[in-house]
């Protein structure tokens, strides 16, 4: 084993590689993820490469070349990697070097040497050069050679794409320790904060990127994540938002300069318009108005204008609404209701736009937390989420052997059973004979699992019967209110409604539980007045349940075992 691959000598970072932007991050000694700025001072490094007289420009410098040197500038290439030429959508790359077919893959015809001739450079080579520059920036910052990384990928990235990316990374001197999914990295970035509390929750990660939007619904159960549904869209994008601004300013320009050409019909005019509109969009995320100013936009005419946020919100309205529908669609695809969603994490550069957070937030009940800079002071910069998650994961597995990582990732993940129903106990209700369902373990929790809960007993104490049952969640629509209010109606026909008196988790308040199969009964005798009972349940991968009931402060207790219906799968 060479020194490069020795886990002890490894320097690992997190890399988020996007079509529009890439970023790099590392984890400090104290376990805090820090995003690294490149030599231009950019934390969001444009995924652009440009060649001028044989010199390679990268990031922001390359992006600026889109005006004067568009055909030797390569951009928006991530999604071309490991793909067949006919399956790619080259729209985004229209203004830069065009992708061409090269054997079975994709290449760009660019003049990347001092010689006056065009070379066909494959997308794999471009990726590798891009990663090499990222690696260099990180190495310069850290003062030691970076040798390994955890790289984020979209959830629908195929194995062919991953292996192409792995190869390109190797070429760039980076050993990819693991590919992790972008939305999961975003959740990890939040959960790894020291003040974060682990809970069982449904998290939706809505990533509004430049060339694509991805939404993932994730069940987070005690820090273990399961993706329930994903939605990908290539129509509702940040580039479309830029387009909205481009159209607006082009029209304003034509109004003021009646005889001028439309800047959208001039290649350079269009490129300048586009760069400036993206800058305006970013400025509008921070300030309530922004200046648009381009020197010699078209036909030698300078153009300056201003726009306020209200106007932009109006212009982008359709796209914001479409994005919000996309999020709802993903929730539906997971067979959930907006009421089930505890948190929405907005990711991607366009999540900085306050109106995006407002529109998505409006589609969900008030109980849902929207994590975006404009709605939550503790929100993390949406552009940095995936890379922070990757850096955290990199620090966790840095010292493992590659073989170890592979072994404990693949077979481990696929075989985990998840509960199809919530499991809980019946708590006291108005009637003494029946009870209200109090969930202890939510549905979609991976097994094995152990959970403990404390439940109240009848006020007068005495002997208590504890029933363990399955429950399913129902959404009760109380009219005329579109959704059930927090205060419950005492005289409602349905008496198995809200369980707020014993339950502290507010996400359950507006849902109702229907009691399913009863699993077991147990008796606790002689409970003190106002006593509480601690319930601990262990569910094995074989669906066997081991339950322990004990009065808080009391001794002894009752324990019981319910045999699993599924035979334990051997010793495997």
């Amino acid at each position: 084993m060479s020194a490069e691959n020795d886990p002890a000598q490894r320097v690992a970072i997190g890399i988020s590689f996007g079509n529009s932007y890439s970023s790099i991050a590392y984890t400090t000694g104290e376990g805090k993820a820090e995003v690294i700025a490149n030599e231009d001072g950019d934390r969001q490094i444009p995924s652009f490469l440009s060649y001028v007289g044989g010199e390679e420009l990268h990031g922001g410098q390359a992006k600026a070349q889109i005006v004067r040197n568009a055909k030797n500038t390569v951009a928006y290439f991530r999604d071309f990697l490991g793909q067949e030429f006919k399956s790619i959508d080259p729209t985004a790359a229209h203004q830069s070097a065009h992708p061409v077919q090269h054997e079975s893959t994709v290449a760009f015809k660019i003049q990347d040497t001092e010689e006056d001739k065009e070379n066909e450079v494959t997308v794999a080579d471009i990726t590798s050069r891009h990663l090499k520059r990222l690696r260099q920036s990180a190495s310069d910052y850290l003062g030691k050679q970076v040798t390994a990384a955890v790289v984020t990928v979209p959830t629908n990235f195929s194995d062919a794409q991953k292996s192409a990316l792995n190869k390109a990374a190797k070429e760039a001197g980076i050993e990819v320790l693991q590919f992790i999914n972008e939305p999961v990295a975003a959740v990890l970035a939040y959960d790894a904060r020291p003040d974060a509390k682990l809970a069982d929750k449904i998290v939706v990660v809505a990533d509004l990127g430049g060339t694509r939007s991805d939404v993932a619904v994730i069940a987070s159960r005690g820090g273990i994540y399961t993706i329930l549904a994903t939605v990908h869209d290539y129509e509702v994008t940040g580039l479309k938002l830029d387009q909205v601004l481009m159209d607006y300013f082009a029209k304003e320009f034509l109004k003021k300069n009646k005889s001028a050409t439309d800047p959208r019909e001039d290649t350079r005019g269009l490129a300048k318009l586009k760069l400036e509109c993206e800058a305006v969009k970013k400025a509008l995320s921070i300030g309530s108005s922004a200046n648009f100013s381009v020197e010699s936009l078209v036909s030698g005419i300078d153009f300056t204008a201003t726009i306020n946020r209200t106007r932009y919100d109006l212009l982008g309205n359709k796209l914001f609404a479409a994005f919000s529908r996309l999020v709802l669609h993903a929730v539906e695809k997971a067979q959930l209701d907006p009421l089930d969603v505890t948190e929405i994490i907005l990711a991607g550069g366009n999540a900085h736009t306050p109106k995006v957070a407002a529109t998505v937030g409006a589609a969900f009940p008030e109980s849902t937390t929207i994590l975006a800079p404009s709605t939550n002071p503790s929100a993390i910069n949406p552009s940095e989420l995936p890379v922070r998650g990757a850096a955290i994961q990199a620090s966790l597995i840095e010292e493992f052997d590659l073989e170890d990582i592979e072994q404990s990732t693949h077979p481990m993940v696929t075989v985990t059973p998840h509960l199809s129903q919530a499991i809980g106990v019946l708590c006291i209700s108005g009637e003494e004979s029946s009870g209200i369902f109090h969930p202890i373990v939510d549905a979609e929790t991976s097994l094995p699992v152990r959970r403990t809960a404390i439940i109240a007993t009848p006020r007068e104490g005495g002997d208590v019967l504890i029933k363990l049952a399955e429950g399913s969640r129902h959404i009760k629509v109380t009219k005329p209110e579109p959704k059930p209010k927090k205060e419950k109606d005492e005289d409602d026909e349905d008496d198995s409604d809200e369980d707020d008196e014993s339950d502290e988790e507010e996400e359950l308040r507006e849902k109702t539980w229907k009691v399913g199969k009863i699993l077991s009964e147990a008796a606790i005798r002689g409970v003190k007045k106002g006593g509480k009972v601690e319930v601990q349940i262990n569910i094995g991968a074989d669906l066997g349940v081991n339950a322990i009931y004990r009065e808080v402060g009391g001794k002894g207790g009752v324990r019981g075992i319910i045999q699993g219906s599924k035979a334990a799968n051997g010793s495997a």
Partner: protein, 53 residues
């Protein structure tokens, strides 16, 4: 609920049903809780055994 009169069971515990079939899903191999899970699974340890170590 209150214990009904005459309810008895061996050691005060009476199993009645078993869990509905589980769905097999992929969990994401990310985060230290996953790593702990992987470690338990590879060494075939239970939660309480893991706590003791």
């Amino acid at each position: 609920p209150v214990l009904p009169q005459g309810w008895t069971a061996e050691k005060d515990f009476k199993p009645i049903g078993s869990l509905s079939a589980a769905n097999d899903r992929n969990i994401e191999p990310v985060g230290h809780h996953f790593l702990a899970h992987a470690r338990r699974k590879r060494h075939k340890r239970t939660f309480s055994e893991d706590d003791r170590i």
